[in-house]
Symmetry: C2
Subunit: 222 residues, 2 copies
């Protein structure tokens, strides 16, 4: 039997998602729970990055994870091996989560006593950027094999994120990828975005991201 | 000045996309134009694959290309270097093209005299799979760095495609990717899908895809 629950999220009935998102953030503040929304293309390394990050933080913070996918539960399986609380959300074909769908997931996860909840959004650089989930902060992963032109082609995602993790830097030598160009393009869209090059495989850079996440969680609970 | 036009596609007003798609296919048949819808995640190598394929076919077929993107015209710039007719479609934030949006693009491209039109859809494994564009055939690219679990997580895309190109096989040795597993998973979803491993960078496998595309185009014009 799986050590996690799988639920199918219902489509939202609310017309005003921004209002729902603000209300969710207010409730999270009252409950002293920090919510991070993690977004990326399919295969950019969200689950591996999360596993590495959780292993560095799980003795310091009480962590819960919501894995959102169209189908399958391979990601929840992987995360459950870290020992933290995890739930698989199936979106029923939906390409993103909005605030009400996120609230449905949080209710099933049961957040009482948790410090930090991470939502791994559906693998997609387009639609998740258009819907505020109610998260306190947004992070995205761009992986080296995807190319350094992605800020030009998917500008909204880079604009709404607080942190940009550039993953798979351990294979930079086999791809035509300029870290300088991607930094320049991302900062042009979003001068406040924090950029952290990482390798989820080797662990490089993960400590810096884990420290950022811990500090933001503690600030939120202040 | 750019050697191509950039247009912004308008959202469709039609409720029944499947009907619009069937009508577009009928018109394409009458006009003797074959339309391929090419889909993939961001950064899977759609444009590089297209460039390689076009260079092998442009002396045998009259080709037009529609590059659909949220923003930027870097892909149309790249394709225009092959010398074929190209147009950049901006989707105004939309995450996919439907049949009416495709028809808008075809009208601006002006297809008279063309044998083959290729639509490079928005980089996204979710939404484009849900909307019939009116294309004669669908192809998708999965790149090695994305991982071999993608058929499990994005099953609809693998189900609706006639061809699956597995790109970036030249870097297979630096990733944990099983060609056998991905083939098995894709064929379980879609026993008729044709799977062609390629490297758009080295050109490996491109000739096989180009031959398939040429045969399908000639069959359609029969």
């Amino acid at each position: 039997m799986n050590p996690f629950k799988t639920i199918t999220i219902q489509q939202s009935v609310f017309a005003n998602n921004d209002k729902q998102a603000d209300e969710l953030r207010k409730d999270l503040k009252n409950d002293q729970v920090f919510l991070l929304n993690l977004m990326a293309s399919p295969g950019a390394g969200k689950t591996t990055t999360l596993t590495q990050t959780i292993n560095r933080l799980k003795d310091q913070l009480k962590i819960g994870v919501m894995e959102a996918d169209i189908d399958s539960d391979v990601d929840a399986q992987t995360i459950s091996q870290t020992g933290v609380k995890v739930i698989q959300l199936h979106t029923g074909g939906m390409c993103h989560l909005d605030a009400d769908m996120t609230r449905q997931g949080l209710k099933e996860l049961y957040t009482k006593g948790l410090d930090l909840v991470i939502l791994e959004n559906v693998g997609n650089l387009v639609c998740p950027a258009e819907f505020d989930t109610g998260s306190v902060k947004n992070a995205m992963i761009l992986s080296v094999p995807e190319g350094d032109d992605k800020p030009l082609k998917y500008p909204l995602m880079f604009t709404i994120c607080d942190v940009l993790l550039i993953n798979k830097i351990d294979v930079m030598n086999v791809f035509d990828f300029s870290l300088e160009k991607v930094k320049e393009r991302a900062l042009k869209l979003n001068p406040n975005i924090q950029i952290i090059p990482i390798s989820a495989r080797t662990g490089e850079g993960i400590e810096e991201f884990a420290q950022w996440l811990k500090q933001e969680t503690l600030k939120w609970k202040d």
